[in-house]
Assembly symmetry: C2
Homo-oligomer: 423 residues x 2
């Protein structure tokens, strides 16, 4: 169905809002939606998001330990010792790994210690093996004196009882799992994975395993979006290809809204299908449509709505547009619904590169320009991958993208740009 | 057991080799080790590595399609049309989504077309809806002429039959899955996930869920390394905590070597346990030990060996050192064993930051300095997280790290540095 759309100028831009504005509207609408949590074994917690602060229940380490192979000593006994004027200590004991020392280091004496070994009573520092010379079985020469507290880690120095080991909202990296293991944490309360429904609509769309007849198109978006959901830390349910007849599409959307935390549909970018999407989002109940159309290229015709506490995204049918919209709107939504805590925001790492040609941009529009990276001596060139937003191969050929801001009219050849990798 | 180690200077650095040299020895030793493959459904192929080139078996799109809502026309009919001098075309047909057009666009005529609709015979371009004015049901006014090929995507323009859609060795991103769906690929042959055995050794180590008595330490490394293996795309088997008595440790290592592609053990960093590791790696058969000790901080005492075609890594007992060694040696090994293809090397994205204090480094040693990032206006400060390599919390507090090269003696306050994020 082709019909004239009201309220759009020749560039179809009337009524469009900026990406930042759309993101603000979206994020505001998500406040108050509760996050679900679950408890998992620490070994299964990698990449999960903490639902509560983890407080250290004990000191780590629980007792002072040596950080070197060497001898536990009283530092005062070694003051001033040097190659030319060594001091001599009696070896009166040895600490074995995994055992507490029996006895105590007396004045003028020392204990053999392995790395990680407990510091015996009496000793307050460790002389490295390399700074000793054996005299006989019972005596060593110290050729370099140590100050008190040298070569050992104090009780609670790694983390002390009562300290926040990790805050709620933190995504668990391997070293965080390690820290929690060290603290004896067996299970952790984490955010439940956000459930995302994926529907494809359009009577011309067929499953990717089928052979199209003229006019039909294989379903690219469902699998590509599923990959993006996984990458963003969510889990997806593929509701398949749904007819774009309202009496079929609306009930399918109702079910998806009931069964998920977020619903995505992507459909033809034609005006008719866009109108159907708007009707259905409104029919699913308030608050309904929040945003339709943003000043983003590709990705302009995105539709953002909400039914009760379920955000709904109508993504453009063009795969490249759909995926760009996912990154700007769906990914932040998955992150927001994953934690009620304010996670610390780090910048997105990028690669410095040089643009190989001029790229024009319409002012008032955020452009996402796909590029290939090519090495050039020590530095990198960014070669724009041009192509229509319906062309999925342009996105597959690209290594990443850079942004041209709303207030810019483009970038000139040889500009230094920041490239963000897809991956 | 404390015993003097031959061939080391006061800094323990004799016999150590550079990280680059160690990596070269390692990667060379891996050549010829066969990669395993498996076939998976396309929907399950996200993040997997292609084991063979994917050749496009058909043109994408299979027929020319409109990229706009509008009218399919003969471009020649519209030449010179403008607002002040429009041309008029008869609407003689309409293309519906998913259907081939019946009939043909004659001279002076046009067909209605939705975005994505097939271009009917006769037409060679599309006039956007926005550049038309309806006259009545059967006629439109064209207010802007088009050149041939405008607003459509040609057959095979996205990808043409016989082209390499994706090369062997490529890790499948969401857009790559999308491209393969578009090409009708149902299953893909991918590298089998590399199987990594993880053993912890040391009689003082206990499971993280147990309560230590004095001298005992909870097992941090196994879970932290498991997270790193997952992050690197491998799968792990946890062989638990194995006694550091040779008659127990050697058979456990033998079994791990038989059942896996890579074996990691981490143990006390004390000289005695290091010696046991060396003995066991030699006892597992040739080629045996390849590297012991690198000029890396933290991470110096790493042991790299191989038994038959199974690489073996003896990682330092200190968690921070173990994790740094993983990144420099184990991760590249997992990647190398994942594909026999030469994957295109992209630089690692980083964050530009300013160092907040002087950091000294011994020349001849690669230093991995952990930092926290703190926002400072528009830019970022990198605050070094100092602490002993036995202190797992230093790694958990850090957002990332920067490197001080072997030929540098350190970095001064306010230096511009590149921070690589952990994650």
């Amino acid at each position: 169905m082709v019909k004239t759309k009201k309220n759009r100028d020749m560039l179809g831009r009337d009524g469009l809002i900026s990406v930042t504005k759309a993101q603000d509207i979206l994020i505001n609408s998500l406040s108050g939606i509760p996050c679900h949590t679950e408890e998992v074994e620490l070994a299964d917690a990698f990449d999960r998001i903490l639902a509560e602060d983890i407080i250290a229940a004990e000191d780590l380490p629980a007792s002072p330990r040596s950080t070197m192979d060497g001898y536990g000593v009283r530092a005062a006994d070694t003051f001033g010792a040097s190659e030319s004027m060594p001091c001599y200590l009696s070896i009166t004991g040895e600490v074995l790994m995994g055992k507490a020392a029996d006895g105590e280091v007396e004045k003028g004496c020392c204990y053999k210690l392995p790395t990680g070994g407990l510091i015996p009573r009496g000793a307050d520092s460790v002389v490295m093996l390399e700074h000793t010379v054996p005299v006989d079985e019972t005596m060593i020469e110290i050729v370099k004196g140590v100050g008190s507290g040298t070569n050992l880690i104090q009780r609670g120095e790694d983390i002390a009882t009562g300290a926040i080991a990790l805050p709620a909202g933190h995504q668990l990296r391997p070293q965080d799992i390690g820290l929690l293991a060290g603290l004896g944490v067996a299970k952790v309360k984490v955010s439940a994975k956000v459930r995302v429904a994926i529907l494809s609509t359009g009577d011309e769309i067929i499953d990717h395993r089928e052979q199209p007849v003229p006019g039909q198109i294989r379903n690219i978006n469902s699998l590509a979006l599923a990959g993006l959901v996984r990458k963003a830390g969510g889990v997806y349910t593929d509701y398949g290809i749904v007819s774009d007849q309202k009496e079929i599409f609306l009930p399918a959307m109702k079910r998806a809204v009931q069964e998920n935390d977020i619903v995505l549909f992507s459909g033809g970018s034609s005006v008719g299908v866009r109108d159907l999407g708007e009707q259905v989002v409104e029919a699913l109940g308030p608050p309904g449509i929040l945003v339709h159309g943003v000043t983003l290229k590709p990705g302009k015709p995105v539709l953002i709505g909400q039914s009760g506490s379920t955000p709904i995204f109508g993504l453009p049918g063009h795969p490249v547009s759909a995926m760009v919209c996912f990154d700007f709107f769906v990914k932040p939504t998955i992150e927001k619904l994953s934690t009620s805590a304010i996670a610390s925001q780090l910048p997105t790492p990028s690669i410095s590169a040089r643009l190989t040609r001029n790229i024009n941009s319409a002012p008032g529009r955020l452009d996402v320009v796909r590029v290939q990276l090519e090495q050039s001596g020590e530095s990198w060139n960014a070669v724009p991958v041009l192509g229509k937003s319906g062309s999925i191969s342009t996105l597959s050929r690209a290594h990443g993208y850079f942004l041209i801001d709303e207030d810019s009219q483009g970038m000139t050849e040889n500009s230094a740009i920041k490239v963000f990798l897809f991956k």
